[in-house]
Amino acid sequence: MSKLTDIAIIGIGVTRFGELFHQSYDDLVRDAALQAVKDAGINMDEIGAAWLSTAFPEIGVFKGRSGMDLSEPLSLYNIPVTRVSNFCASGADAIRNAVNALRAGECDVAMALGVEKLRDRQPQDSIVKMMVEYGHPFLQKGFTAAGTFAVYANRMMHEFGVKREDIAAISAKNHFHGSMNDKAHHRKACSIEEVMASPMVANPLTVMDSCPTTDGAACVILVRAADIDKSKHNPVYIKGIGLSISTGWDLPFFDPNHDFLSFEATRTAAATAYRQAGITNPIEEIDMIEVHDCFSIVELLTYEDLGLCARGEAKDLIRGKETQLGGKIPVNVSGGLLSCGHPVGATGIRMVVEVANHLRGNAGERQVKNAKRGMTHNIGGPGAIASVIVLGSDI
């Protein structure tokens, strides 16, 4: 493969995440986009192409079904705008598409914006409704999202000696991190015991092992590294970006090859991103990671899929507090999805904004010291789709 053109992020913006009744879908788009445009020091009309990530318009507010739902609130017309939908990896995929357009020369300045508005409906009317009432009438019927990941937890406990406390420790760690994030949906630290004692959702996962459904938006402005003006830009570089679909919506639950201990998609997406970034030993070469902790078990098993440790050893990383702020490789210092919440289309971009803030040294109380390289990870569908993005402070 020929050498890829270096791409930089020059503008970042993220709204507060939470139950944002006072902000409409359009308000959220404007909030995130205007922050990013201001941060990039550009005029909105310099944007040559944009990607809008909203995963579930039909269980939200019926907005985000096409790119025009980005154009309209910003008056950003007469350029190509594409809506990206790839489940929970939608935001990261919007960035990947923007990167590729810059590399192909379609435009000089690209915008990737993710937004999701889920709280206008009751929680049971959004994601749960999708699992209960939509889709195939029989296949997987009986699962909610929590259950599709709980089977991994049970298998990890059965196979690798993972304890219930190890899984709850992920949630306690992320809620501790989230207590320092003024844009997080939930900002209260909690104990392992509180996580385990909260109401059961899908055995062994409780409410506090599960991320909330949330409103929010995040935006990045990207350019080719060659176009950076150091006098006005504070860039962060995309070192590697990988996306992989490694199974289907129903297949994982009907595939005898699947072991429920690992997401193949994460492994292949990470391999691509690591190859581009020249990473061979991630735990030594990366300073911080935002991992897709939609349910606490997902973060735990992703340690193994990202190659931070060998198979079956993830529990040792959490037991040794290696992934806590101040540890060897802090994971989800933003608070993760468990604390920030999960506006599905925005999450991947929110993670990139978080890492960019650390690489710029702007993360405040939760700043990871001397962060030079960071990474984001998303998993979408029942572990079918994964995205891994490696970011660096230097080219």
């Binding site: 009432e133 009438p137 009986g142 991994y152 059965h158 639950f253």
Partner: protein, 454 residues
């Protein structure tokens, strides 16, 4: 004359005691009661699913459940059971005698020489009006019999029907069956069975068991006794207290009960608006106690409220969330029925991996040549979880990922779990796939597989 080559019975997993149904009801007297995902179709399917399916040229389906309360009958069952299209498919409805009606006609059709193997299935699921359970007979069950011209362990040596002009004492009030004392009379009954007795050719003493399936069994016994039968020959109905009166199925269940008791020569008299009389000779090759096993293996419904939940008559425990219409379609069922209904999977001809879902290429070895294989209905749990937020009458819903014996993997709901603590699933446990209702809030239910603990 014809033979009963093979039979199967199906009782629901649950029983309810009369003492739960009414303060005056007795503990220990039970009725077999369907779980919320069972109906006449699932019970009929279960009863027939163990029978040999080759060379069946007709299906005769009997039920006292009114035709428009259950959309699916003989033809649908034939399709569910994967019998060839275009075979004889007859429905016998509107009478509790319809079970023996079907058996009697099957015998006649076999006698005619035009048919070789006929599948007779009786299935009944009747619920009385809420609060009136004690005064109405009900109990849910199904029984299937393969009637054949080929020799089998049970022979039907005589079969005849006698009409009579008197009405049923049970009728429908609204959607529910009830006892109507206006029609509780015995005049026609006595005359009818008197003419029946006259038709019996063999010496009364030659019978090992005489079954009277009637609420007037005692009166029938009196008429038989006058004709020279001995009280000791009468096979008392020992099922009603354990299963309830199972309607059109009951006469067949009583027959199976006596077959399993090892009785050799049996007279079966089934009375309702007339009488069906069958003489049966039983030469069992081996002892079979499948009905006895089903009678003795049950779980009790713990309260009247649970019984109402089971009937979907009210849901006091679940949250505010009620399920709306789920998406389903006739076209989807038709085009996917090999997979959804018959459990046909694909076997990779290269690496041997068996898949339940179709794909263009093997996920493991990427080869694209597959052969079609039927998946086993038993397996071992690979992973499972309990879903507390999926709407259900009896939460949580347990989801089971099962590796089927011989290959293939299925993920399905656990069923027969009114009290999940008693039926905990864990990795490594053995399960059986059973066909149950999935879409229930529709006049036309759709059926799919669920797992039952073995």
């Amino acid at each position: 004359m014809s033979y009963i080559k093979s039979y199967g019975t199906a009782l629901p997993h649950f029983r309810i005691e009369d003492s739960i149904l009414h303060p005056r009801g007795k503990a220990g007297i039970m009725k077999a009661v369907c779980f919320s995902d069972e109906d006449i179709v699932t019970l009929a399917y279960e009863a027939a699913s163990g029978l040999p399916k080759s060379d069946i040229d007709g299906i005769l389906f009997a039920t006292a459940t009114p035709v428009y309360q259950n959309r699916y009958h003989a033809s649908y069952l034939a399709d569910l059971l994967h019998l060839p299209q275009g075979i004889l498919a007859l429905d016998f409805v509107n009478s509790t005698r319809s079970g023996t009606d079907a058996l009697l006609l099957a015998n006649t059709l076999i006698d005619s020489g035009k048919y070789r193997n006929l599948l007779v299935i009786a299935s009944d699921v009747q619920f009385p009006e809420i609060g009136k359970e004690l005064s109405a007979p009900f109990g849910h069950a199904a029984c299937a019999m393969l009637v054949s011209c080929e020799e089998g362990p049970v022979q039907i040596t005589f079969a005849k029907s006698f009409s009579a002009e008197f009405a049923e004492e049970f009728d429908y009030k609204g959607a529910h069956i009830q006892y109507d004392p206006r029609f509780s009379r015995d005049a026609g009954f006595k005359a009818n069975i008197t003419s029946v007795v006259k038709q019996i050719n063999a010496a009364p003493a030659s019978y090992d068991a005489v079954i009277h399936n009637s609420v007037y069994a005692r009166m029938a016994g009196g008429v038989f006794a006058k004709a020279g039968f001995n009280e000791g020959q009468f096979a008392k109905d020992r099922l009603s207290n354990k299963t309830g009166n199972t309607g059109s199925v009951h006469a067949l269940l009583l027959l199976v009960h006596e077959l399993e008791n090892g009785k050799r020569k049996i007279l079966l008299a089934d009375y309702t608006n007339g009488t069906n009389l069958l003489e049966i000779e039983n030469n069992p090759a081996a002892e079979c106690k499948s009905l006895a096993d089903q009678i003795n293996n049950y779980e009790l419904v713990g309260s009247y409220q649970d019984y109402l939940l089971l009937r979907k008559a009210g849901n006091f425990l679940a949250g505010d969330y009620t399920t709306k219409e789920m998406f389903t379609s006739e076209m989807m069922m038709e085009r996917e029925k090999d997979t959804l209904r018959y459990l046909m999977g694909l076997k990779c001809e290269h690496c041997g991996t068996i898949y339940y879902l179709k794909s263009a290429r093997c996920k493991k070895c990427k080869e694209s040549k597959f052969s079609v294989v039927e998946l086993a209905r038993t397996g071992t749990i690979y992973a499972c979880t309990n879903e507390h937020y999926f709407p259900a009458s009896f939460p949580p819903v347990t989801m089971v990922v099962a590796d089927l014996d011989g290959g293939g993997r299925m993920t399905v709901q656990q069923t027969d779990t009114m009290y999940p603590a008693k039926n905990k699933m864990e990795i490594g446990a053995r399960v059986q796939l059973v066909l149950r209702k999935m879409i229930e809030n529709d006049a036309k239910p759709d059926y799919f597989w669920k797992a039952r603990q073995l």
